[in-house]
Symmetry: C2
Subunit: 353 residues, 2 copies
């Protein structure tokens, strides 16, 4: 028979409610009663839940992770690295989904359930500068992602302009010159929003090799970069008669949808059209063809965010808020391997050699 709260209450000579209050630490209990309860808990070898461990520290041992959605494997993979990193320091992570909605993100950044969570890691999609209400609640917050929000929180990002430049330049280097860019969002005007940074990198690479950009090659999508977005963007592009020899999708899910759309139109990847993604989700490694992509160091993203947040929670980190950039690398796989370095279109690089 496991020890119950009642056993503990009888031993300590207090009410069950008091035992519960001591264990859960949300309500004031006198020191004297608290000591009696804690002694009884120990004598009876009661298995406390996680909260109890954090009683004395005034912490619940739980951090929140607010992501736009669970269906995008990129967020699931980053969440997993956060859960593992937090777990190593005995913190539990509860995942909240914002739906990428500004109102929900605003709630998180302005102090979401401070009595339930010691701190929050937030990956915003729609948040704007003015959404920050300074000083309302003091819950520590760490931001993930690429927006250039000027907020008083630590921020773990990757350099989207540089990453998109590298993806596009890789295609140019292989000889492609009609490169479509899939994923520009027009619902958020902010010029530091992720898709605009990625477009900037794409345009810089074109410019570098002297190709002028063609508006027809740039397609817009909704906030959620899912397989269907990529699929339908490609169908629209081809229905409009746009000539394309390579496609840079702003994430892997759209790239996988794009590849399926190309197959359904009788086109081969990479023989007819090369495709490159962004995120390096596991699915792209097993897909056929496997997907060339930009791989942010997700493990380091999760570990850094957790280190920063726990440092703020436990008071060991007292430097001013920082923005750090996590490295990424390009991983070449089958979806762009149809052409050898250079080939017939090497000429686009001639000024660059």
């Amino acid at each position: 028979m496991p020890t119950t709260l009642k056993d503990v209450a009888l031993r300590a000579g207090v009410s069950i409610k008091t035992v519960s209050n001591v264990i859960h630490g949300q309500v004031y209990v006198t020191d004297e009663k608290r000591e009696r309860v804690e002694e009884a808990l120990k004598e009876l070898n009661y298995q406390p839940n996680l909260s109890a461990r954090y009683l004395r520290k005034g912490r619940v041992g739980v951090i929140g992770l607010a992501i736009p959605e669970l269906l995008n494997p990129y967020f699931a993979e980053v969440s997993n690295t956060v859960i593992l990193a937090a777990g190593r320091q005995a913190y539990t992570v509860l995942v909240d989904t914002t739906g990428g909605e500004r109102a929900n993100e605003r709630i998180v950044i302005n102090g979401w359930r401070p009595q339930l969570l010691d701190g929050v890691i937030l990956s915003p999609l729609a948040l704007e500068q003015e959404d920050l209400q300074p000083g309302l609640v003091e819950t520590p917050v760490v931001l993930l992602g690429e927006r250039f929000l000027d907020v008083p929180h630590d921020h773990v990002a990757i350099d989207n302009v540089a990453a998109a430049y590298e993806a596009t330049y890789h295609l140019l280097r292989l000889g492609y010159r009609r490169i479509a860019a899939i994923g520009l969002r027009i619902d958020v005007p902010d010029e530091t929003e992720t898709s605009k940074l990625r477009l900037r990198g794409y345009l810089q690479a074109l410019q570098e090799v002297g190709i002028s950009s063609d508006k027809q090659l740039i397609t817009t999508t909704e906030a959620f970069y899912d397989r269907e977005s990529g699929y339908s963007a490609i169908r629209r592009l081809f229905a409009d008669g746009v000539v394309v020899d390579a496609i840079f999708c702003f994430n892997d899910l759209m790239a996988l949808g794009a590849i399926r759309a190309l197959y359904d139109m009788g086109l081969r990847v990479p023989e007819d059209v090369a495709v490159i993604g962004f995120d390096d989700i596991e699915e792209g490694r097993y897909a056929f063809p496997s997907l060339t992509t930009i791989s942010p160091d997700k493990k380091l993203i999760g570990e850094t965010a957790v280190d920063f947040l726990l440092g703020r929670i436990e008071g060991t980190r007292d430097v001013p808020p920082e923005r750090v950039y996590i490295p990424f690398r390009l991983i070449e796989r089958e979806s762009t391997m149809g052409r050898a370095w250079g080939g017939e279109r090497r000429d686009v690089l001639k000024d660059h050699a």
Copy 2:
């Protein structure tokens, strides 16, 4: 300027702490002060967080969803249906991951953080009958998944034996007779554990058409059914020289890993080997070839679990705990479409026609 707690405190003539206590509802505040604070909140159009709405009802408006892991899209998709269903009733869902570990699942089912969550939906992988400690904490719990645990909680399941029978029978009907089964777990002895139910359905279908089972065709895997499990199971099977013309994987992720392994060995799907999965994750619809699978009604799973849980939380559901079976259907896609109905191997069905 947004309204701050300080504004509210000044207007109500109380301390900021008291305002916070009213909003967060965890600490007792006198009725008189509470009314003054609530009036001030209203006058100043303060945007309360969700907790406030549930103050009077003694609920926090948050339910927990404990799943084994985020990396398996099946759990992510079911979680999404839970989040949508709960959201329609103004409940927030926080997702906790158990890692499929019995100790973590035991904590959840025995009442996990009752002061933080109004109830919990748990999808267990390793829980055993004796893990239930009756009556320790009264948090409502709904179980998801297929285990036949005899516990005093509502339970939303699918009929795994019937579903696996249907998957296997589909392959038999198409003329395949060397059908591998991928995914038997040997780490949990319990005969009602999911993989053993699926194996039972597989064996029943073989028996029905008079094919004796071949132990060589049944491969074991770890608890997590990921792409790598499917990939390596197929490599092992072929390394052992086992002759196979079709593969039934106990989930889609393993099936997608299996397809990639077959390609890497120079085999075509479905021309050389047919593959069928289980779960109907979105990835299988866009994969090449697209994946034939068993599709449980995930939307109904999420909605039913939420209905049951909120019914218990709000006291509107007072029938004894029930187990309900959610329907599933077989969805035929490219990965099994290589052969016409019957064909040369129709003979396996002759006793059954």
